[in-house]
Subunit: 721 residues, 2 copies
């Protein structure tokens, strides 16, 4: 078992290293191209170093608190998670800043979309393989060291153990949850910091460049253009990488933790799950992850070795199909081999026998694809919703915004119906464990989806470099085409991100209720969160409001940083003569500094909200309140995440639809309105939406860790209310 | 008891009639003013008649369904509620279209703000008194006829009774709930229809008039200007009137219904509430309403008889202070008299003895005021949030929108904290009944708040008439001042509307759980809605998405109607020469027809969503799903309602702040951006926000009526899932 996982990790990280150096040794083009690429790489590197320094301080504080309040092992697991997540983000950013210029050069030299795609995908695959490889490596480490060697997985340790403060947990669940928290903290900062950075630069560049000065995107005359390209790397690449690593880990541990609590529950009510079945419930998600990773490796190799067609969309779909198909078959075999012949106690709710957890995982995959397709419908210019926004732009900016808001709101309903149905199906097939497996199913071949997701921003950056280096128009057309294909596949990635976040949060939430019940579990026990309990209800109200506060802070942070950028760009246009005629070189560094400082300053507050609100409200109002808080935040975040992502995507593509020549085309009044819509949508879709996915998991994980603390100590029970 | 309520109703409606004819006999000014006023009045009347015809058909269908599924008495109570609510809206609109021109004339003749205020307030008071008077009259009728004469209030009838289909309810709760449904249905259509009408006209007029042609608001050259003024009357007046009547009735009946269910519960668990205490719990909210109404009558008389100052704001505050202060004292006396010496079983949770329900009501009042003050903070140009929006407008339209979205999102958090704390306090003082009384407390002096709320749009309309009739600038200044004072007081009214909706929905929701438990209540019974039940969880997901769908439909409806209006206004400017020079008269009627048709066509879909979703999902997935649906919709709607109302208000006042001369003032680029923000905010704050308040109550009421049906018949239990 351990060996299969170890093989998957080694093969994946080996291929990642191979691809890393494979890309690196390619030619980076002309000296000027290299100069631009170096500027982007340095900007990105400088930002990440500053960011990681800040995070390191915060992480050390959290580790110390964890060591005191829970156990030292939890603190160590937390540090492992944080280190691996940070490394995945770092490597992804590194390879992206190496690949971009090489993609540009390949397009320039070969003028062949297929070979250019391969370079971009080879770069992207490093990130994808590292995300899954590092995450699984860390979990394997935790499993072997703490679970097997230190014995946390021994049956006698599958019980609540009190530390010196009298705070009690099941040791192994605490360890893996702390590991997940480490990943979540990094993801939160990378997403929020990177999201603010990239959108401040993007909005700043667009607001003055496109709207006021009328120069195209990525024009070297725009002082914010390098900052904008740096933003793609720290936001879309490093942010996305740690985000999906966090989702992946969250899904994996939610199934493991739930299995432990269900076992504890089963022993208390006198119908214990057998030791062997428990071990299988714990290892099954890890093994699904391992076969998914191997399937992804196969798909990456296939794409890089295949002859390649002129239709990059088809090639990528083929790769995804290989990864998902192989995972689909292999995990069915796994389920049958592992669970065949077992008897299942009623508690775990395996209604379909050995295939139950597999069916739940497949439900997750199918619903993730359906949500992605719905997102595609609402945000692609091939369909009516986005075309209507473009059409409304002809009547003025106000109607562009209004129509986009309406589309965003509409777009929430059907994906949520899919989620609700999938929850019902996964639960009725395999109980609460099934809900966790649905999340795991979605993300089982995450290495392949992240590879595809990452190659998009690389191609985007390559386009920027081609523009700045004055390469042929044809080069830009190739990178643009690759970028636009990336946008389509990214829609499915987003469906997986939000869907898995919802499922993982729900199963973590079930674990939270088990942990809260703790020693109170008895033969008549039923898992309950009673909404008509006043504290729970009040918690749900506050929880539902929290994502709004969080989003408000984020949007304002972007707007603030973007406004500084606007003023700087305006200042340069005014004070440095000759920029607009191309005679003088703008001061790129100043813009990079503004984005960087703004992002670092503004990323603290929202992260603190996510971390501190569940802790403080737990210490004040107790675990019933926090239970409500979690459910309120989860419900509200799912809606806001879908709304912001789809509204933003629809505005973006509505503008592109106009640029394709509809409703007046480029330069028309409709286009100006479309640009405003796009700019409004930018922080919504690239900062707020993805951060909300993390918010619900980070809150669930922290509450799960802290529930034993505030079950014992809270103001309300202290006052006897 | 009955006599006190009857006196309150007679006095209130008597004063309403007196004020109605008092305003009507005033001089309406010049023939041209009369002509404009007649056009507005005719337009409003024509729309309401068409609207009511459509609603009548729908209401008849609902009444028939109710008669078959539940009881004929419920159907009759439904019709009474619908008729009274429709009448209140009608009379309010009628008096508003009578008052507007007379306010304008009074301002013109007297040039005195105090005497002008009195005319406007006299008109507004007719609406305020009718809302509370009609609502209380209807409830008195239901109470006397069905409760006393037909015996539904007899103790032996406080029990589940099955109809011929085997569907069981407590008869009196069914009757009053059906009465509330009648009020809700009208409120829904009036709010939605009126909201679409007014914003289509407003946006259409602004988009072409202000933005393209550069002519001021209410300019007679704008073909949409009469439609815009008609919209104020059908949306802000008739819509507001039926809305608050619905809120008032919802709060009243939520306490009554809950009292009945708690009594039933107490008998089942063997510690029955005494018959006398039950009667007191049922009549207490009615008596609080009666003293609140009498206090409001006193405040209206005081304002109209007082000498009046130059500060309308102070005069109105004094009136509100009289109404609330008198209610505050009188209801304390009531509580002590009624509940003094009673013993309270643990079930109803009166922790502070006789004063318990009064303290809960006061909690409601205080939190309503706090929410109103917070709304004031976020939306008034006296404070930073709105000033920041104005400042951001200097950097372009995109940042105006972004900053407004951020402000709207920020603005959700603190009001929800207030709601959560108030829920905890009201509950710990007086149990679930306390939560219902908190809603009742907020609305006890609704006659006074609606009088103040209604005078605002009357003053606004008077300003429009002054503009069109080319009266002195000074006249417009007087009406503008009155209008702006109205905006401030309206903020508190909005706080009461959303706060009472939340509390009423929560206590209706508790009744829903009681009704669902029905005959299952036994000695160990605890009221539970278990969020970890999959159907409940899935219901909560769908419920949380529903307000987004509903809002999306509404915004799109407004945008659609507004676009038709834009095209019509553009057509007229182009095809009828001389409009812009003032030589030719635009075709006002065509614009009125467009708004009217658009509103009637578009109001059906959102209303159907509100009514049908709980019924259909109940029949498919059963009562646990609907329980989740209700909690999801309530949570999500509260957030969206606060977000949309405050974002819209902040954009509106941000624009006004620029117009006052900040950041470039009128005509600057900042101003243009501000106008776009205002236009985007219009449907959010005046169509979506208020409709969401109704949505949560209409869904709760329908579910409460239908729960016995789908507890008995639903697909999931039919299939044995």
């Amino acid at each position: 078992m351990v060996i299969l996982i170890a093989i998957a990790v080694i093969v994946a990280l080996g291929l990642a290293a191979f691809n890393y150096f494979g890309v690196k040794k390619r030619d980076a083009g002309t000296p000027f191209m290299k100069e631009i690429a170096a500027a982007i790489a340095e900007g990105a590197q400088a930002f990440i170093i500053l960011e990681y320094k800040i995070i390191a301080v915060i992480a050390v504080v959290i580790a110390i608190v964890l060591a005191i309040l829970t156990t030292p092992t939890a603190a160590i697991a937390f540090v492992i998670g944080a280190t691996l997540s940070a490394s995945a983000g770092w490597i992804g950013m590194k390879i992206a800043t190496i690949s971009n210029v090489r993609v540009s050069n390949e397009a320039n030299k070969s003028r062949n979309i297929s070979s250019t795609l391969k370079v971009a995908f080879q770069g992207g695959s490093v990130m994808g393989l590292c995300v899954a490889g590092f995450a699984l490596f860390g979990l394997l480490l935790v499993y072997v060291v703490f679970g097997l060697i230190l014995g946390q997985l021994r049956m006698e340790n599958m019980n609540f153990h009190a530390n010196f403060l009298g705070i009690a947990d099941i040791p192994f669940t605490m360890t893996v949850t702390a590991y997940a928290l480490g990943c979540s903290i990094i993801a939160m900062f990378n997403r929020v910091g990177g999201g603010i950075y990239t959108k401040a630069a993007d909005m700043g560049a667009d607001l003055v460049g496109k709207t006021e000065a009328g120069i195209p995107e990525d024009d070297p005359r725009n002082p914010a253009t390098i900052a904008d390209n740096v933003g793609d790397n720290v936001g879309d690449v490093a942010g996305l990488g740690s985000d999906l690593l966090e989702s992946y880990v969250g899904s994996l541990i939610s199934a493991i933790v739930l299995a432990c609590y269900m076992y504890y529950h089963s022993t208390k009510i006198g119908t214990p799950i057998s030791a062997s079945l428990l071990q299988k419930l714990i290892t099954f998600p890890l093994l699904v992850a391992a076969v998914g990773l191997l399937a992804s490796v196969a798909s990456v190799i296939f794409l890089l070795m295949s002859k390649g067609s002129k239709h990059p969309h088809k090639d990528l779909n083929k790769a995804l199909l290989i990864a998902s198909g192989a995972t689909f078959v292999a995990s069915a075999v796994l389920a049958l081999t592992m669970f065949g012949g077992e008897t299942f106690p009623a508690l775990i709710g395996f209604k379909l026998g050995a295939l139950s957890p597999w069916v739940a995982a497949v439900t997750g995959i199918v619903s993730g694809i359906a949500i992605g397709q719905l997102a595609e419908y609402y945000t692609s210019s091939d369909y009516k919703p986005t075309q209507h926004i473009a059409e409304a732009s002809g009547e003025g900016t106000a109607l562009t915004i209004t129509q986009g808001l309406a589309t965003g709101m509409w777009s929430v309903f059907y994906p949520v119906i899919v989620l609700a149905l999938a929850t019902i199906i996964a639960f009725s097939v395999a109980g609460l464990y099934g809900v966790a497996m649905a999340a795991m199913g979605m993300l089982s071949f995450v290495a392949a989806t992240v590879s595809v997701d990452t190659y998009g921003p690389i191609a985007d950056n390559a386009g920027g470099i081609s523009e700045m280096a004055h390469l042929d128009k044809e080069v830009r057309e190739i990178t643009d085409k690759l970028d636009s294909v990336g946008n389509t596949t990214a829609a499915i990635g987003k469906g997986f991100a939000i869907g898995s976040a919802a499922f993982a949060a729900l199963s973590l939430f079930a674990s939270y209720l088990y942990a809260q019940a703790g020693s109170g579990i008895s033969s008549g026990f039923e898992l309950v969160l009673n909404m008509i309990n006043t504290y729970t209800l009040a918690g749900a109200l506050v929880g539902a409001a929290l994502p709004y506060l969080f989003s408000g802070i984020l949007i304002e942070a972007v707007a603030k940083a973007a406004r500084s950028m606007v003023q700087e760009v305006r200042r340069q246009f005014k004070e440095i003569p000759g920029i607009l005629t191309g005679e003088a070189r703008p001061d790129y560094t100043e813009c990079i500094t503004i984005s960087s400082k703004g992002a670092l300053r503004e990323m603290i507050a929202p992260a603190f909200v996510a971390v501190l609100v569940p802790i403080i409200s737990g210490l004040l109002f107790g675990p019933a309140f926090v239970g409500g808080l979690l459910i309120g935040t989860t419900l509200s975040s799912i809606m806001l995440a879908l709304f912001t992502a789809n509204a933003g995507g629809a505005w973006d593509n509505g503008k592109k639809y106009i640029e394709e020549g509809h409703f007046g085309g480029k330069g028309s009044e409709a286009h100006k309105a479309g640009v405003v819509g796009d700019t409004v949508g930018d922080p919504l879709k690239d900062t707020v939406g993805p951060s909300l996915d993390i918010l619900i998991k980070i809150m669930a994980v922290i509450s799960l860790i802290m529930v034993s603390v505030f079950s014992k100590f809270n103001l309300v029970s202290l006052l006897g209310l």
